[in-house]
Symmetry: C2
């Protein structure tokens, strides 16, 4: 199946927003309120052509009837109660839209069936229903979420979420931490477009370098695994699964979607080359590293730190993740102490508390050039050290020169991390507030190195 | 041994700061520079009497000679190179100080021996040398760190750190996140006052409810274990150990302090009743819960959430930590659905996206009163929900009414978590940005319940 219709969902040239501003189904989260917010975001952010159809005829710029909308729109976004969707679907399909994004939930089984039957007969693809938030594309400004004025920073990480709640939390996280996002999609009930097709589409998307998936149940495990296998040679797929324990499966409203034991799927994910994570923070920590740095070709890590204790914690983290500390070559060791006798060059390398940018730069170059080293974790504290936040910019410059080995940064703590993040954001160096998180990021880069190697071999 | 001298280190009525502003030993971190910063912080924060002795006679308000300082000062803070300390120690001891805090490092083995010999002969206790940052007491404003103008918020968590780097990172973390701190102490070389004595002192400190320890090696394992055992009946001890893997032990400058295998110590820690954590974030996550909430008397957790997906992740986290989801009693279930038919009362309880404070309050009261429930994790998302940040204040009110069962809060994400933290800070409800962190906090509360039970039985 070609992802042509799926492409129309993310990259429409023109969109028709359909709602009924006068219908109040229940307090608060009424589709009519959501409709107004989606209009707000689309008019603010979307660069294509937007048509608004308000069946209640109340929204200022809207037309009241589908006939007033030109035919062959790429995407129709439906923010209507299910009954109204089905009542007006024929008229909408007559306009020959290519794809439908069905935001509102609350469909009965029969209503879902009817929606699928009518659309598939016309070859119209449907994302949803019950996507709640819909889709974001930071490249063309498509933004069908109802939280007003939220548009993540443009970047290379795509996120698809089965749960709207987890999706909203991930969106909030990405927005708050300035994570660079390419696409964001809420899958909803998946009556038509599946996670497999989304992965396949994102696999071919030039704006996406990393694909993140939150899922509970899988609609078609075989297809999903195939899709993952197909894309991991080009870009990593990071999967967070919910409902993997007895507790997570207890929620009755979700029970139907648990297609099998997590162990079985875990093993299948792994074989397919997906990288598994366990919480939202790890998802973004890992995705940031994968988006910015090359895979790590071996498990030998060098740590360069201006403080002793955090370097020890970092070394512990490295081993806890199944990586090891590299034994620096004699050449690198000698070059470092010849220039900086005050440095202890045994890994973890103590660059000493008075190290500034120049010393970091010199040492990192030796370490990255060392054939015994596969990747580097840099620890730069500001508190009780002489390094200035601005000095960490050197990391991005060094990283640009060594494109074959990953480098990740750690500023342990609170204020220190904020200051360093401010300098390194927008660069190719991911930065973390704890060595443990950086170690998990390196582990993911190592795993992805192995995954790519396996794909190339096959 | 009575901790009398140790008390003088944290609760001096009068302090003499000793330095030599004219001595520049090396660029940057010279003791003279540190001296000026310590003076700055002490004059700004410390509520007791401060005398300043500048052996170089340059600092404005300082006297040049020890003889100008009244006898029997509680604490002398030495910010001098080792040679100068030893040259002037006799004159200082003649003033009959009760305790010494030796900030500067770089002592030889002989110099350390000499410092200990001279002080112990007079019964003067020494913290350090090489504490680098010294001591903070938020109650009396004692602040001998050289990072200017940093004084954590007053609270009930005490932190002692063997490593100055990890200590500085923990201080930065606590300062940034507004963690309530009672005392902060950097142990340094521990020639005299040991971690065991610090734990014992903090065990008797009325301002401290939770004791956090970062350590690599242990000076006297038996004494430390004894001290922990002695205090855990009254207050929890949380331990983060560094250098527990092959990697962490590799740093030669630290090798001497590794007294034994981590397994042995881990088992001993556990027997003694210490709660073990694995990174700085977990340390504070756990300490915050222990400082604010009662121990959990069983392992049965109720989750109440206004979003489905995050509740599923939360349930997974609960099981991953070895806790279980509580089966709500029929009474609680019935009371909840009688009042709110839209709520799904099967744990994890879905209070629905339109829940506001009143609904949370009603449901939490039923759940906390339920004998089948030992503790509660509340998830309140703002994004895509109708709850207002201010609405979460109800959690603190409910928690005040149920003092026997812990309640922890999760606002999953970035902005949401900041908004809710702002409302709940200063209350008795700890709040987290991920269910996993809240689950670890509940696990610690459960562990502490078992530890206290064991102590009471013995």
């Amino acid at each position: 199946m070609t992802p042509g219709g799926v492409k129309a969902i993310f990259e429409p040239k023109s969109v028709v927003l359909v709602g009924a501003s006068g219908v109040k189904e229940r307090a608060g989260m009424a589709p009519s309120m959501i409709f107004r917010s989606v209009i707000h975001n689309m008019l603010r952010f979307y660069k294509g052509k937007t048509h608004i159809v308000d069946l209640s005829g109340r929204v200022g710029t809207a037309v009241k009837s589908f006939r007033q909308v030109p035919k062959k729109q790429d995407l129709a976004v439906l923010v209507l109660p299910p009954k109204l969707v089905l009542r007006h679907l024929r008229k909408l399909l007559d306009r020959r839209v290519r794809a439908i994004l069905a935001i509102t939930g609350g469909y009965t089984r029969e209503q879902r069936g009817e929606l699928l039957r009518m659309t598939s007969k016309q070859g119209v693809r449907v994302l949803g229903p019950n996507t709640i938030m819909g889709v974001i594309n930071t490249a063309n400004g498509l933004c069908t979420i109802f939280e007003r004025d939220i548009m993540p920073q443009r970047g290379n990480i795509a996120v698809i979420s089965q749960s709207s709640g987890v999706g909203a939390a991930m969106l909030d996280w990405a927005w708050f931490y300035g994570t660079g996002i390419s696409k964001f999609a809420f899958m909803g009930d998946r009556i038509d477009v599946s996670e497999a097709e989304l992965v396949e589409y994102l696999g071919g998307d030039k704006d996406t370098n990393v694909i993140c998936v939150y899922m509970e149940g899988i609609r078609d495990g075989r297809k999903f695994i195939d899709a993952v296998q197909k894309v991991v040679g080009q870009k990593p797929v990071v999967v967070l699964r919910g409902g993997v324990t007895q507790g997570g499966r207890q929620m009755p409203s979700r029970a139907a979607s648990f297609a099998g034991q997590d162990k079985v799927f875990g093993a299948a994910f792994e074989r397919a080359g997906a990288i598994r994570v366990h919480d939202i923070e790890e998802l973004f920590d890992v995705a940031n590293a994968l988006a910015k740095q090359p895979p790590m070709q071996g498990n030998r890590v060098a740590i360069a730190s201006n403080v002793g204790g955090p370097a020890i914690l970092a070394a512990d983290s490295v081993y806890r993740e199944g990586l090891v500390l590299a034994n620096l070559s004699d050449k690198a060791t000698k070059t470092i102490i010849d220039r900086y006798p005050e440095v202890d060059p045994v890994n973890p390398i103590d660059v000493a508390t008075d190290a500034k940018a120049e010393r970091y730069e010199f040492i990192l170059k030796q370490v990255l050039a060392d054939p015994n080293v596969d990747g580097v974790m840099v620890i730069n504290m500001l508190k009780s050290c002489l390094l200035e936040p601005e000095g960490t910019r050197i990391l991005a410059e060094v990283a640009r020169k060594f494109k074959d080995k990953p480098i990740v940064d750690v500023s342990v703590g609170g204020v220190d991390h904020v200051l360093v993040s401010e300098v390194l954001k927008g660069t190719n160096v991911p930065t973390y507030n704890l060595p443990d998180k950086a170690a998990r990021a390196l582990k993911a880069l190592y795993l992805y190195g192995k995954i790519r190697e396996k794909v190339t071999r096959e």
